[in-house]
């Protein structure tokens, strides 16, 4: 691995599962801890997610420069863009690495897709898959490559569980059964519940609890 390579987290999940909102929750927590992140957002039919994060995280809160939120169209093939042929994503990642060597982390959001989404290991070092309760509590039990193989499973919108008749204990039980010892986190991305746990996983398992580059440089 090149010494210039910046650790990369891939976040995948179905349309509307809360990928963008999860990023909007974890980037401020990372920023509070001194970690700087760049974001690449793959969108299926619009630039809306990238534009929203650029506005919310960069323009309004100043947590990162606006050019560190990049939107990427995928030609209607969201899973291809992060797995079979991640060429465009890799190019953008490499350009970001060259221009912003001081970044601690690059977050790559896949376009909304189905439960077979995974990331090419050439693109992402760590893979978070996010589902939400509105698909029913059968979701983890249905398996799919994303749920089974991700490094961290996030179950979002837990506040809606009782409205849609989803039993969180069943989802937890099945997540454990399907994934063995691999972790999962229950999240409400609207309130931020669980976002700190997701961020801790990233800091521990991706950044290996290393000091933020900006801090290490001044030591």
């Amino acid at each position: 691995m090149s010494s210039d390579r910046i650790p990369r987290v891939g976040i995948g999940g179905p349309v509307g599962s809360g990928k963008t909102m999860l990023i909007e929750q974890i980037v401020p927590i990372l920023s509070d801890r001194g970690y700087r992140a760049g974001i690449i957002s793959n969108d299926v039919v619009s630039r809306e997610d990238a534009d929203r994060m650029r506005k919310n995280l960069a323009a309004e809160r100043g947590l990162l420069p606006e050019d560190l939120v990049i939107g990427l169209a995928t030609g209607g093939c969201p899973h291809t863009a992060v797995r079979e042929d991640p060429s465009m994503n890799l190019s953008v990642v490499e350009e970001m690495e060259m221009k912003h060597k001081d970044l601690d982390l690059i977050i790559i959001e896949s376009g909304g897709d189905n439960i077979t989404t995974t990331f090419s290991p050439a693109l992402a070092d760590y893979f978070i898959y996010i589902i939400d309760v509105s698909g029913g509590d059968k979701y983890p039990r249905k398996r799919g490559l994303g749920i089974e193989s991700c490094d961290l499973l996030v179950i979002n919108k837990i506040d809606l569980a009782h409205y849609v008749g989803a039993d969180l204990s069943i989802m937890e039980r099945d997540a454990k059964a399907v994934r063995g010892n691999k972790p999962y986190v229950l999240v409400n991305s609207r309130t931020g519940h669980g976002a700190k746990d997701v961020t801790e996983h990233i800091i521990r398992d991706v950044l290996f609890e290393s000091l933020p580059k900006a801090v290490a440089k001044n030591k």
Binding site: R47, G75, P86, S87, M88, V92
Partner: protein
Amino acid sequence: MSTDKITTEEVSILQLSDSFFPTGMYATSNGLEALFYAKKIKHPNELRNIIKVYLEHQIGPTDCAALGNSYEYVKKNDLKGVIKVDQITFSMKLIQEIRDTSARAGTQLLKCLGYFIADNELLNKYQHCIKNRQAYGVYPVALAIASSSLNISKRKAGLMMIYAFLVSMVGAALRLGMLQHFDGQKIIHELKPDIVEIVNSNIDRPITGMWQFAPGLDIFQIAHERMSSKMFIT
């Protein structure tokens, strides 16, 4: 004894021109998406005619000629010549997303090639120039290096590139719902003589003779680049 033998070079042709080969080009439509939303194409025959304009007025006299020229420089191990073609080709692409996509696709093609082709001096030097921003890594030049290193002839390399462009346009049209899959294959079939003619008339075109003129398409590509909601990179 049968003379119907196949060679590894022919297999390499299949490998590089297969849409499965990772270059990211499937994410582009070259402005076709904007034409679709403007309702400018209503029949598969109109799509075929538009693709022919792309090939005859943009891709043929620029990319195919760039491939031919860079291939010759590669054969002479002339890195300066390769970079000259690279820079001219990049500057001739009027739309930023199309310029950047060509450079990204070419750069990734070379990286993939370098993963299974070892010790190609010119490939290594060219990649070094791309990293140091002395070259862009545009797709036709990258394909010339890849083809040469796999012993694919210049003309066959041109055929691969033009064919791949045609397939990517038909693929984009299919994903936009502009036609059904049989229509797509019919368009490819009908354009076969044109592909041959476009390769033959451009692959030996001198570098000073490279051109493009398709202002109508340029305008739609500009409009596509600026669309706020779109499925494809321009």
